[in-house]
């Protein structure tokens, strides 16, 4: 095993990359090989940074799939749970990441493919119910537009967390951290047992997580129109 270029924590923290990497990790960013120098820095400094972050109530997790992230184990650092749209879109992206057809494009997909895949796995009705559940009577066109908007917002938020990279136009680059969405179905355990273990480690929570930015239909013009109709 090659030696680290850093002699101690002071050295690691004095490196010019540290401030940006630290801020990114604290904001939930997953860092993988595509981040180039950041990933190389973390590989080099992980032995010093792990105990450092533990003092803040967080674990610096390095996954064999090739990415790092910070997992809060207490309330000192600040944490959140992904919202329903983010979870649905994240799992869809993970499915596309596993799909061999994506290999042809080097791990790139389009937004339309994400939406199409999500709708084909969940079913359109179930998808609308999951992402646009507040109204009893649903105007189909309005509901579909709301679903598209929520998927779009979820993609944007997942990209800030390093799960996906938004390229020009409609293209998205899938990143290894998406395999986090498949952790509960990877091992030999049943999905329920695996999920329970993740919850015990603080990696996940049962339930719907946080409300997203656009979850409240009453705030949207479409929601207001729906209210007026009713």
């Amino acid at each position: 095993m090659s030696e680290s270029q850093f002699r101690d924590l002071g050295d690691a923290v004095s490196d010019e990359s540290y401030p940006d990497i630290d801020l990114a990790l604290r904001r939930g960013r997953h860092i993988d090989q595509q981040d180039g120098p950041w990933y190389a820095y973390l590989l080099d400094a992980v032995a010093f940074l792990e105990p450092f972050y533990r003092r803040f109530g967080a674990e610096l997790v390095h996954v064999n799939d090739g990415y790092f992230y910070l997992l809060p184990t207490s309330d000192r650092l600040g944490k959140r749970h992904l919202s329903v749209p983010e979870m649905l879109v994240g799992q869809t992206l993970a499915l596309l990441y596993l799909d061999p057809l994506t290999v042809q494009e080097g791990g790139s997909v389009t937004r339309d493919e994400v939406l199409g895949h999500l709708a084909s796995v969940m079913g359109s009705e179930a998808l609308i119910r999951a992402l646009h559940s507040k109204k009893k009577r649903v105007d189909e066109r309005v509901a579909q537009e709301a679903v598209r908007q929520k998927v779009h917002d979820a993609l944007r938020r997942l990209s800030t967390l390093g799960f996906v990279e938004l390229l020009n136009g409609e293209q998205l680059k899938l990143r290894p951290a998406l395999l986090r969405f498949a952790e509960s179905v990877r091992g030999a355990d049943s999905p329920a047992e695996a999920l329970a273990k993740l919850v015990a480690k603080g990696e996940a929570v049962l339930g719907d997580g946080e409300a997203g930015e656009a979850d409240s239909d009453a705030e949207s013009p479409e929601g207001a129109a729906q209210d007026a109709e009713e």
Binding site: M87, L98, D99, G202, E203, E210
Partner: protein, 444 residues
């Protein structure tokens, strides 16, 4: 006749306008392409420079029998196909006999290029690249020697400019064509790799690895040759450009510069492909290692799909760090306080200069003037206003006119139903004219 446009130098808008004006279009069915390909193959094998109509019809019939045996009326179809190809400049008549006899036809440059693209895979290999770059080096060395001894317009044209434009251009086009062929081949590799994984999954690992390694090796070799040889080519071209500059030959400089740009593009292609393939190589390696090897039965995909479809019934959410952003206090200079709203003060008149009448009631005076004039029999508001405001400055006349109208309305009875034309009063003032019928001075 319009000037011939070249893609490299023409204004894009003009280029497009030219195409629209000429109504250029291309529409070829698979049968048409097959027909053209067969003609190209026969021309090559039999050494034919042109085809008679009978030979064209025969080739078309063979194409139909091979590609679509259900077709009938082949002779009529052949006539239509030949006409279509002529209209689209794929076939050109090469004899000058007109209606005297049946013509002879040859494939145009367009047809040859299309056949070449679809059928002849000119892929860039180590051998083809080395041959082309060595030929280029040889040609450029000769051009440099010619430039050094050229002493007339003709010698420059024949020894330098023409070879740069024609020979060198052809060699560079050859490299570019083969680069495009390699790009197409790489796309095929990627598609093949995806299909192998889709069909064989775990058993496709070795084959995918072999494909990756062979392409990476090819690209590495090509890039090495390109980097080495383009450096030499650019060096010779720089020498040619220097000689042209010393001999004041701007035309030669311009042609040399264009060739240097083409060679730069070729070198840039190599670096870009190397980079892109490295990323793809790394991605596929990671995919094979982290996904295919660890999940030989593809169970993970099925389980994840079930998890997603059942998410509403068994929801869960991943935890991520979300530290609030740090407050970074900036040193900000407070803005200047806004200037207070003020209006310019008029200069105060000296008390000694004020006339004695300034202390009297100006409204009362105005009313007295109006009353006086009404008693005198002035019954036009315009005349009344003109007399009262005659001595007033322009800035006060408008206000005074309003007051005069007010007093007149109180003291007299302006007619309601009659027309009230607008008439000028003094200079700069226009009022509605009232023709007063009866003055009722003193009564309101």
């Amino acid at each position: 006749m319009s000037e011939k446009l070249t893609v490299g130098t023409a204004d894009p808008a003009r280029l497009l306008a030219e195409l629209v004006e000429r109504k250029v279009s291309l529409e070829l069915s698979t049968l048409d392409l097959g027909f053209v390909a067969l003609l190209a193959a026969r021309a090559l094998q039999a050494g034919l420079a042109s085809f008679t109509e009978a030979q064209l019809t025969d080739a078309f019939e063979l194409t139909c029998q091979t590609m679509d045996p259900s077709l009938d009326n082949l002779k009529l179809r052949a006539t239509h196909a030949i006409r279509r190809l002529r209209e689209q400049r794929m076939l050109v008549r090469v004899d000058g006999a007109g209606v005297v006899r049946a013509g002879e036809f040859a494939l145009s440059r367009l047809a040859s290029a299309i056949v070449e693209f679809f059928l002849e895979e000119e892929v860039l290999t180590r051998e083809s690249l080395t041959l082309l770059t060595r030929s280029l080096l040889g040609s450029l060395s000769e051009i440099l020697q010619a430039a050094e001894v050229a002493d007339s317009d003709d010698s420059w044209r024949i020894g330098v400019t023409a070879p740069l434009r024609v020979t060198v251009n052809e060699l560079i086009s050859g490299i570019e064509r083969r680069q495009r062929g390699l790009d197409v081949q790489q796309e095929e590799f990627q598609r093949e790799m995806s299909k192998l994984l889709e069909v064989d999954w775990f058993n496709a690992i070795d084959r995918c690895q072999t494909l990756l390694d062979s392409t990476a090796k090819t690209l590495r070799e090509l890039n090495e040759i390109l980097l080495r040889d383009t450096h030499l080519l650019l060096s010779i071209l720089a020498d040619v450009s220097d000689v042209a500059l010393q001999r004041s030959r701007p035309d030669v400089e311009a042609v040399t510069r264009r060739v240097m740009e083409q060679i730069d593009r070729i070198a840039a292609w190599g670096s870009a492909r190397q980079r892109a393939w490295s990323e793809y190589y790394e991605y596929v390696h990671r995919y094979l290692r982290d996904i295919v090897r660890l999940d030989p039965s593809r169970a993970l995909t099925q389980r994840l799909r079930s998890q997603l479809s059942e998410h509403a019934a068994r929801p869960f959410a991943l935890t991520v760090a979300a530290a609030p952003p740090l407050r970074l206090l900036r040193s900000v200079l407070p803005p200047e306080p806004p200037l207070p709203v003020r209006r310019p003060k008029r200069e105060k008149e000296e008390e000694d200069d004020l006339p004695a009448e300034a202390t009297k009631d100006p409204l009362g005076e105005l009313e007295a003037q109006v009353t006086e004039l009404l008693l005198q029999g002035v019954n036009d508001l315009a005349e009344l206003t003109a007399r009262v405001t005659a001595d007033l400055p322009l800035s006060e006349q408008f206000l005074a006119a309003g007051r005069v109208a007010h007093f007149v309305a109180r003291l007299a009875r302006p007619p309601v139903n009659s027309r009230r034309p607008w008439v000028p009063v003094n200079s700069g003032l226009v009022i509605e004219e009232w023709r007063l019928k009866k003055a009722n001075v003193g009564h309101e």
